[in-house]
Amino acid sequence: MNGNDYLFAAYVVIWTILFAYLFFLHRRQRQVARELQEVSETLERRSLGD
């Protein structure tokens, strides 16, 4: 392996870690979206009730 191979390897590691984090963040965002949806539905049910 020459220098460029190691460089490539290092960058792949960096981006792999970054993407793992990105996937995690994305899942969190989906969760927030679901919660907002629930809030919206609750509000709607309540407003029908009164």
Binding site: N4, D5, L7, F8, Y11, V12, W15, T16, F19, L22, F23, H26, Q29, R30, V32, A33, L36, Q37, V39, S40, L43, E44, S47
Partner: protein
């Protein structure tokens, strides 16, 4: 119309979030391919007539070029999306388009920042100057960055509402129209005062082109994913604001 807007925002936002989620894995693969293209696949550029010492010195520096140029081209794409979103907002008056415009402008600023920071690092060894003021592409990027920073300053000084979205759309449209004129003006300036650039000529052999194409596609998908993500987040934010606002109005009416 109780909660109608916020329900619409939520539906669109969730859809965009889902789509951007599907694109994450392909994006990861594309980025790895682009890294491979830039670092391993692309040969050192052939510089006809240059002395061996210069070729040795410049060598791998040229690999900055792949991500730098791809980011530059995609920053134009992002600002073009701001323009499209602005026109679409003015025609349809649908707030989703404003969220789309603002998201694209953010991604555009992100990409221009990459361009204007990797640029000098590449230009110093290649052209022997950090910042070539006479280069039309560099100047267009710089002016675009300034225009869209101003775009966000304008947005920040207006409260949420139709007026803000209209003004932002107009600002985005006017700003984007400036791109070709800036480019032409600097291009003309350069033919007038040729900038002293001590570049050795680069012959783009097909492998360099292919590597660059990999980076271009990867950054383009990155741009799209980021725009979708940010649009979705902006819409979620708007939905929450809208719900709070309507709840407050309802309480005030009840009291």
């Amino acid at each position: 119309m109780w909660l109608e807007n916020s329900k619409q925002f939520l539906a669109t936002a969730s859809r965009l979030l889902k789509v951007s989620g599907w694109m994450l894995l392909p994006l990861y693969l594309l980025i790895v391919i682009a890294l491979w293209g830039a670092f391993l696949y692309a040969p050192l550029p052939d510089r006809p007539g240059a002395d061996p010492a210069a070729i040795q010195a410049l060598g791998d520096v040229q690999r900055i070029f792949y991500f730098h140029v791809s980011s530059a081209m995609n920053s134009f794409l992002a600002f073009f999306l701001v323009f499209i979103g602005g026109v679409a907002y003015l025609v349809t008056r649908n707030e989703k388009w404003d969220a789309f415009s603002a998201a694209s402008a953010e991604v555009g600023i992100f990409l221009t920042t990459i361009v204007l920071t990797t640029g000098p690092i590449w230009a110093k060894p290649e052209w022997n100057t950090w910042f070539p003021w006479g280069d039309p592409r560099v100047m267009t990027e710089l002016v675009l960055l300034l225009i869209f920073i101003a775009y966000f300053i304008l947005r920040a000084s207006l409260p949420e509402g139709e007026k803000k979205y209209k003004f932002a759309a107009v600002c985005g449209i006017i700003g984007f129209l400036d791109v070709p004129i800036v480019y032409l003006s600097i291009h003309l300036l350069r033919t007038l005062h040729p900038v002293v650039i001590t570049a050795t000529e680069i012959r783009l052999d097909p492998m360099i082109r292919q590597a660059w194409l990999m980076a271009l596609v990867a950054i383009m998908v990155l741009t799209v994913v980021l725009v979708l993500l940010r649009t979705s987040m902006r819409l979620h934010h708007r939905a929450a604001q809208e719900m709070r606002q309507q709840l407050r109005e309802r309480r005030a009416r009840a009291a």
